[in-house]
């Protein structure tokens, strides 16, 4: 971390503390349970990686869910063939995600702009179709890929008995949770979450380094004016491809972690809606910013957890203070947006962000701060705001 300046070191430190204290911080919001915390961290990673491509280079991929799916399949295969230890599974997931990204990126990056978006979307859809059809021996089709008792597991398969083995980190099972009482709340410390949290912090650190590197500068230049960059002597394609592969590796990593915390993999992870979701997370938080994607991922997953769990009866209870005549129409309208209809909310947020706040939450906060500080002092800041 010697190469980071003081502000970045502080940012990293605060980030790490916030993530590690996640179970405590989020418990009052009803989001302190392992399953959701793991999702925050995993999708945060996914979005950080996506942002390295989209935020820095401006290349909008609609196919990143494919790499996530590949990562999941790779990890489950590692569990089946090698060991229930998550480490080889994660390494395998990252490598395969990267390899896949290399293949798809090589072809897709022959075109830019809209063509690129369409191509990545098409490739992801092709992968999804193949996972359901031809590749059934590898993916187990619609059932999804799972571990089984009689898998070889050449490293630690011997001497198994009883139920299915658990994913673990050198013997420490992922689903182990310690509970403790803190400030009157039950706080759950879960091994799986702390694995994801550690990887998230590492992933954030790597992204920080990339943002502050000459490579990162080249990517931002690429986004700003590709033509100029060519005439400045830079071969833009390998730069874009490198960014694509890095983001694919992040996606593979996220997919691997999904499998590490719950060892199954299905093709639905590769669907276009999943690709759209990571785009939304990134733009909701703020594309091109460091913290934005993590915030966006957290918010989406939080609202998903909250809203998709609400049903019509609960909604009616929630609004019981209203008179009946008002409550019933309101409930039937709101019911569209919760439970099964959560995706409608997602679509509406999507549009609202693009229309009203293209810079995302981070940009919004920045604008609010500027408005606030303009009242305090009229001196314009000399430096551009750090990305």
């Amino acid at each position: 971390m010697t190469n980071l300046n003081a502000a970045d070191r502080l940012l990293l430190l605060l980030f790490a503390v916030a993530v590690l204290a996640g179970p405590v911080i989020l418990a009052p919001f009803g989001a302190g349970y392992p399953d959701l915390l793991q999702k925050f961290a995993i999708y945060g990673l996914f979005a950080i990686g996506f942002n390295i491509l989209f935020g820095l280079t401006g290349y909008l991929s609609f196919g990143h869910a494919a790499f996530l799916g590949v990562g999941s399949y790779a990890a489950v295969w590692a569990f089946k063939l090698l060991s229930m230890n998550v480490l080889p599974a994660i390494v395998f997931a990252v490598l395969l995600g990267g390899l896949f990204a290399l293949l798809i990126g090589y072809v897709s990056l022959r075109r830019s702009g809209i063509y690129f978006s369409i191509l990545t979307l098409a490739f992801a859809q092709m992968s999804y179709n193949m996972a359901y059809s031809v590749l059934t021996p590898l993916t187990n089709g619609e059932t999804g890929l799972q571990i089984a008792l009689d898998d070889p597991r050449i490293l630690d398969g011997a001497g198994q008995s009883g139920g299915l083995p658990l994913t673990n980190l050198f013997g420490l099972p992922m689903n182990q949770t310690w509970e403790s009482e803190l400030l009157g709340m039950t706080v759950q410390f879960n091994v799986g979450f702390y694995l994801c949290a550690a990887v998230l912090i590492l992933g954030f650190y790597a992204a920080l380094r990339i943002f502050r590197s000459p490579f990162g500068l080249m990517l931002r230049a690429l986004k700003s004016n590709q033509n100029r960059l060519n005439y400045t002597g830079v071969n833009t394609r390998p730069y874009a491809l490198a960014a694509f592969v890095i983001s694919g590796m992040y996606a593979g990593l996220a997919g691997g972690l999904l499998a590490a915390t719950d060892p199954l993999a299905g093709a639905e992870r590769m669907q276009w809606t999943a690709s759209g979701e990571v785009v939304l997370m990134t733009i909701l938080g703020g594309a091109g910013t460091l913290l934005g994607p993590v915030l966006g991922a957290g918010m989406i997953k939080y609202f998903e957890a909250i809203l998709s769990a609400i049903n019509k009866a609960e909604l009616s209870d929630l609004l019981s203070f209203l008179p009946d005549a008002l409550r019933e129409p309101l409930v039937s309208v709101l019911a569209l947006f919760v439970g099964e209809g959560w995706h409608l909310t997602l679509g509406v947020i999507f549009m609202a962000i693009v229309i009203f706040l293209p810079g995302g939450l981070v940009e919004g906060a920045r604008r609010a701060m500027r408005l606030f500080s303009r009242g305090a002092s009229d001196a314009p800041s000399e430096e551009r705001p750090a990305k």
Partner: protein
């Protein structure tokens, strides 16, 4: 030869749908410079116009028979569609032909939706980056399909073709071959003819009307046309509506072939995009040609003989062709230079 012809025919109906969607996409793209990720949703909405129309005309009046009883002793319910009650035989005909007649509903509704979309949303995105245009239409596609899901449920809704078009047509006999060598579902032939008529009409409209001429000029060079004092914006709004109508009509007529469900739009959109890329961005002729080409190719790839050699090829053939085209002819089959390349 017969088998060959049959596969070509099999590809035509899907190809027709691809061509119609791709045509609208290209039209919007060429005129407004916007890539509409919600275009598949328009196709889906069209299909649901047919569903809604069918639901209305088949709405039944339920009467309790005053005399007859069910075996359980409860009064027997007599269900008669209102259409039949009110219009008699004409009503029955209305029900039977609900799909083609639903076009009378789909066309104005889709025009309205298209115009509203352009005025209310797309218009504000002309000057925004392409990524924003993609994102906002993508969000709209999600909203539209979720609304349909909320209204019509998640399951596919089977739609009947008119009874006289439900069977098989002896296509071989029509073109002077031995009877019963090439038989083909009648409605699919109808769909192909319908698509051909629509495509022909759109091209004729662009080619032979002043309006179309201005639009074509605008596609080539929007600024210059604007400078001539022609209100190009209004025409482009109409073009968006027209593209929506084409997609919607394509969807409505397709409903007997593929039972509409809320996510059919995205499935078709992805393939239609590939069609546009293969045909060449901005080329109307390319879009249509590539639509049929890929539809037919897909149908050949799904022959058992082919699948035995290359399992699963039917699922990916279109994408493979797209990759091959992009690697060898990056602008597509009939693409112009300089379209969307900045």
């Amino acid at each position: 030869m017969d088998a060959f012809l049959l596969q070509v025919l099999n590809g035509l109906d899907k190809g027709s749908a691809y061509a119609l969607i791709a045509l609208g996409l290209t039209l919007i793209f060429g005129t407004l410079g916007v890539v509409n990720f919600a275009h598949g949703a328009l196709f889906m909405l069209g299909a649901f116009c047919a569903v809604a129309f069918d639901k209305v005309v088949t709405a039944e009046r339920v009467l309790l028979d005053p005399i007859k009883k069910t075996p359980w002793g409860t009064p027997l319910e007599v269900r008669v569609p209102y259409a039949k009650v009110w219009f008699g035989d004409a009503g029955e005909w209305l029900i039977d032909y609900s799909v083609p007649i639903s076009l009378a509903l789909a066309v104005p509704v889709m025009m309205l939706i298209g115009v509203a979309m352009e005025r209310g949303l797309i218009r504000h995105f002309y000057k925004r980056p392409h990524a924003d245009q993609i994102l906002v239409t993508f969000g709209l596609a999600i909203v539209l399909q979720e609304l349909v899901k909320a209204g019509f449920g998640a399951n596919p809704i089977p739609m009947p073709a008119p009874s006289s078009y439900q069977g098989m047509a002896d296509f071989g006999a029509l073109i002077g071959m031995e009877p019963n060598t090439v038989v083909y579902p009648t409605w699919r032939l109808v769909y192909f003819l319908f698509a051909a008529a629509i495509i022909g009409a759109v091209f004729a409209f662009l080619q032979f009307t002043t309006f179309g001429m201005v639009v074509r000029a605008g596609m080539a060079d929007r600024e210059t046309v604007g400078l001539l004092g022609i209100d190009i914006d209004r025409r482009f709004t109409f073009m968006f509506g027209l593209a929506a109508v084409v997609a919607g009509a394509a969807g409505a007529m397709y409903s007997p072939i593929l039972s509409p469900d809320y996510h059919m739009g995205m499935d078709f959109l992805v393939l239609s995009f590939v069609v546009v890329v293969v045909g060449g961005m901005g080329s109307l002729g390319g879009a249509v040609a590539a639509g049929f080409l890929l539809g037919i190719l897909q149908s050949f790839a799904s022959m058992n003989e082919v699948k035995q050699i290359l399992p699963g090829i039917d699922q990916i053939i279109i994408y493979l062709v797209a990759v091959a085209i992009l690697l060898t002819r990056p602008r597509g089959l009939m693409g112009r230079k300089g379209v969307m390349e900045s």
